[in-house]
């Protein structure tokens, strides 16, 4: 694989983080690009985290939680699903390739599935290539809602 890219994973502690652990215990080899941030619940993930991570220069963001209906906190992943789906549709509006962001569900027992998810997503990001770096100033302008709304008005 070519040069490592910056991929950030926000993972729920109970299912996906455990699934990643299970994959590790099972020695399921994965690409090394992903850096995992442990979250208590996928419902804790503010969509702004994803945006700020992407705007800050990450090449991809992966979110993973418990399968819907199987949440440690009963319903956190339902909130997550709604917020993240809206976010995914919103990304093109601010000029971010929605392929740079995925959300998925992996349970703590699914080590093999986690290996598959990481490998697939990493390959997807590599196919998109490194994100285009732009200066801080123009970035702020591009991301301000005003720029997006102006042509509409």
């Amino acid at each position: 694989m070519d040069k490592e890219l910056r991929i950030v994973g926000f993972l729920c502690n109970w299912c996906s983080y455990g699934g990643a652990d299970t994959a590790g215990v099972g020695r399921f080899v994965q690409p090394t690009d992903l850096r995992i941030i442990r979250m208590p619940c996928s419902g804790r993930i503010d969509p702004l985290f994803v945006l700020k991570t992407l705007i800050g220069g990450a090449d991809g963001v992966l979110v993973s939680g418990c399968h819907p209906r199987d949440c440690h906190y009963a319903e956190g992943n339902y909130y997550a699903r709604r917020r993240l789906e809206v976010l995914k549709r919103f990304l093109p509006v601010i000029g971010i390739d929605p392929g740079r962001f995925e959300y998925t569900w992996v349970s703590a027992s699914e080590g093999q599935r986690w290996q598959h998810v990481v490998t697939t997503f990493t390959n997807q990001i590599h196919a998109l290539g490194p994100v285009q770096r732009i200066g801080r100033q123009s970035l702020a302008t591009a991301c301000s809602l005003g720029t997006v709304l102006e042509p509409l008005a």
Binding site: E4, D21, R27, T32, C41, K52, R83, S107, S109
Partner: protein, 657 residues
Amino acid sequence: MKIGVFVCHCGSNIAGTVDVVQVAEAAKSMPEVAFAQDTMYACSEPGQQGIIDAIKEKGLDGAVVASCTPRMHGSTFMRTVARAGLNPYMFEMANIREHVSWIGKDKVANTRKAIDLVRMAVAKLAQNRPLYSQSFSINKRVMIIGGGVAGIQAALDCADGGLEVVLVEKTTTIGGKMAKLDKTFPTVDCSSCILGPRMVDVAQHPNITLHASAEVDEVFGYVGNYQVEVRKKATYVNWKTCTGCGACMEKCPSKKSRDPFNELIGTTTAINIPFPQAIPKRASIDRDSCIKFKTGKCGICAKVCPTKAIDYDQQDEMITEEVGAIIAATGFDLMDWHVYGQYGAGRYPDVITSLQYERMLSASGPTGGHIKRPSDKKEPKTIVFIQCVGSRDKSVGRPYCTGFCCMYTAKQAILTKDHIPDSESYVFYMDIRAPGKMYDEFTRRAMEEYGAKYVRGRVSMVYPQDGKMIVRGVDTLAGAQVEVEADLVVLAVGAEGAAGSAQLAEKLRISYDSYGFFMEGHPKLKPVETNTAGVYLAGCAQGPKDIPSSVAQGSAAAAKVLSLFSKDQLQSDPQVSKVDLKRCVGCMKCALTCPFGAIKETEVRGEIKAQVIETICQGCGICTSTCRQGAIQLQNFTDNQILAEVNALLSSETEEA
């Protein structure tokens, strides 16, 4: 802030594919890191002492340990930090084993990744605050879901330990699968003779409340304070007045009703008591078979009942039980083997399951303990047992070994010879797995003493011909095709999680695998705990196991509950949400989204504000990502901390470039 970083070798587990010395070296240049070193085994006694010494000598304010997953040793190191005099929450972990060294072989990339993870942990820890637990009282009652042998054992152990026990069983009697067995391996002792007295003990124990024909509907609350809604399903018989005399069964005209207890090979009456030793010994009506329910005309049971217990209008009843802990012992079901077209997929009456055969062997079964083939009720002389039907078979999505089929097949081969001395048994098997005490000796007895013919190989096809079942397979030891003309074929069907176990797991908020088995906290060190505090596992609900293991786990779960209840107060996890009153505008969206009802409205100087009830808050942080003001923040998982991790990672890349 002075942070210490400790990078663990974990022997060669980490050091093999991560340059730990370089990681520690890199950590020294990170902001607020005052001390960094590598250590052979951070979790060992000298490893922990090294951390304590460094904290004391260097006057550190917090520690980052880069080693394994926090799910494994997070609490170990929190205690270490506390022993050094720091607040245990001034600690973070970087997972460089499960998430780095074990999944990548490239040492350079791994080392870079490990440095990043340490950098992120340091950035997060820099904003950690000391947190303090609160204590809350616990309700010392325990609910056990499932009245099989594991649930019975757990109930009796808890009850003998002085706890109030609520046992919930979905069928009309406890006993589970074991009650259906004729004899048990490897002692060939009578199953109901050893289980029966224990069932009676449950019924008579003053500390046990038994809800049979009941299911868990909803679960609220948290460890120490669960509220469980139990649905007592209508049996159409008032169990308070029913005496179990059986007069209704004698007179019921619907005598050919389906009989789930006898695995549908026998019939029963529409109103019935599943078996003579049932606990509670109470009748119930099978709605689908009852003439009264189907046509409106009958009502004979109501006429003959001496205590007027029949109530056709009975409705499901909801009751709420308050308990402090829950043991899930829901057991297993046989896999639906009808996907096996090569074995007839249920088309041939003389191909039956192991459990059906077990009922046939049982003296209290539908044939009175006589082996009769279902098609013509004749005594079979040649019986073929096929192993691994729904075990170790990826093609039907059951790749795991059920583990007890080899043993029960050997037992059934032995019992067959006892029942029909001039019979011949063939067992088609893949491998014999008999790793218990006296187990291997037992399977050898089946072969050597009882002459069961073991054929190593798979059966490719079973089909009827001239009143016989032709079993065609391969003998891989002889390297030849074999064909057996059988009178009866018995399939050793593998186990999967009991029907409805996935739904129950969701209610209990525990994990389950794709086969319906519940996930334990740790496969080796937490075999009866789940990751949800106060919920424990026993028996086949966790994975297939035989009777001794189920009983052992039932006792183990009871021991866990007793140790949990040995305290009057529990300490809450202080990683809870906290409201910044200056920012809160009282919109109460947080309270709406909180799954636990842990946020209430309060008034501060005439303004509505949110308030977190710390002992109820479970620390999920859904409120935090809901709050537009950022006023409610999950402690040690604040917005700033998570973004600090992101920034630490992204800024490191800029340095490289």
